[in-house]
Symmetry: C2
Subunit: 161 residues, 2 copies
């Protein structure tokens, strides 16, 4: 009866935390600091998820293989669907498009989030970054809302070479 | 493979938020304010969960019936197990004991949370209060850690009479 309660709870909690972060802080600097903290919380979660599931992970052939796993298995486990579109410039930039992103889907109804909606993606940016860092793929992740609830995540790999 | 990812994610996120709340604030007053905000976030989540699942809920005979539903169905949906023990003084106080509370279980390992562990229960206190408020059972909810990961929630009904 309350089977999907858990999913809903995470979304509600996440939405409320982001909302609280936005509401409280007034100075631009303070907002930036909090956003960056939220990204770091995502990063830690990504790292720890990877640690926890390491023994279940396949052996990855290469970088693209890792990104594909992120788009399919990881995305499905966390967001209940796969990424809809994956593009790359073959120079270390990957763009993931989700046309119905779960963290935007429910919050979008009835809230005045449109102008600040990209802040709802910050935690996920961190999550991706942490997950990839654990798999030895350091990167920078940014995101943009295209139109609710569609969004894009840009993964810029940081190569040592 | 990553089936239980979602559960873990919520726990990680919750743990990190509570940890951030504790780390940042130094003044006792500020901590209290943040704790109270976290309780309110739980309250809102509880309310909204109840709204969302109202049509699936049974008709409740009485107050005890509502509390029993909370201990069994609600607890299972959110925390993956039932409450282990329910007691009441028949004067509007209910004590729920969970001998292996999910929000304490994983965080307890390797973190110095023991002295401040009751703060990990604040969100759940709010959640219970919100859920019951939606079912027209106003109450105050407090919690105590007995020994990790066992805890008790005290529900004090607020009767209009």
């Amino acid at each position: 009866m309350l089977g999907t309660c858990e999913d809903t709870l995470f979304e509600l909690f996440h939405g409320a935390i982001v909302s609280t972060i936005l509401k409280d802080a007034t100075a631009e600097e303070e907002i930036d600091e909090r956003i960056s903290k939220l990204e770091y919380i995502g990063f830690s979660s990504g790292l720890r998820l990877a640690e926890r599931f390491t023994r279940d992970l396949p052996r990855f052939k290469d970088e693209l293989d890792i990104i594909k796993f992120l788009c399919k298995d990881f995305w499905t486990a966390v967001f209940k669907k796969q990424v809809d579109n994956l593009r790359t410039n073959h120079q270390g930039v990957y763009v993931l498009q989700d046309s119905k992103f779960r963290m935007l889907e429910k919050v979008s109804n009835g809230r005045q989030y449109l102008d600040k909606s990209s802040r709802l993606l910050v935690y996920t940016c961190g999550l991706i970054r942490g997950w990839l860092a654990a798999l030895n793929v350091p990167c920078v992740v940014t995101a943009e809302v295209i139109s609710m609830p569609a969004c894009k995540f840009h993964i810029h790999l940081q190569r040592s070479s």
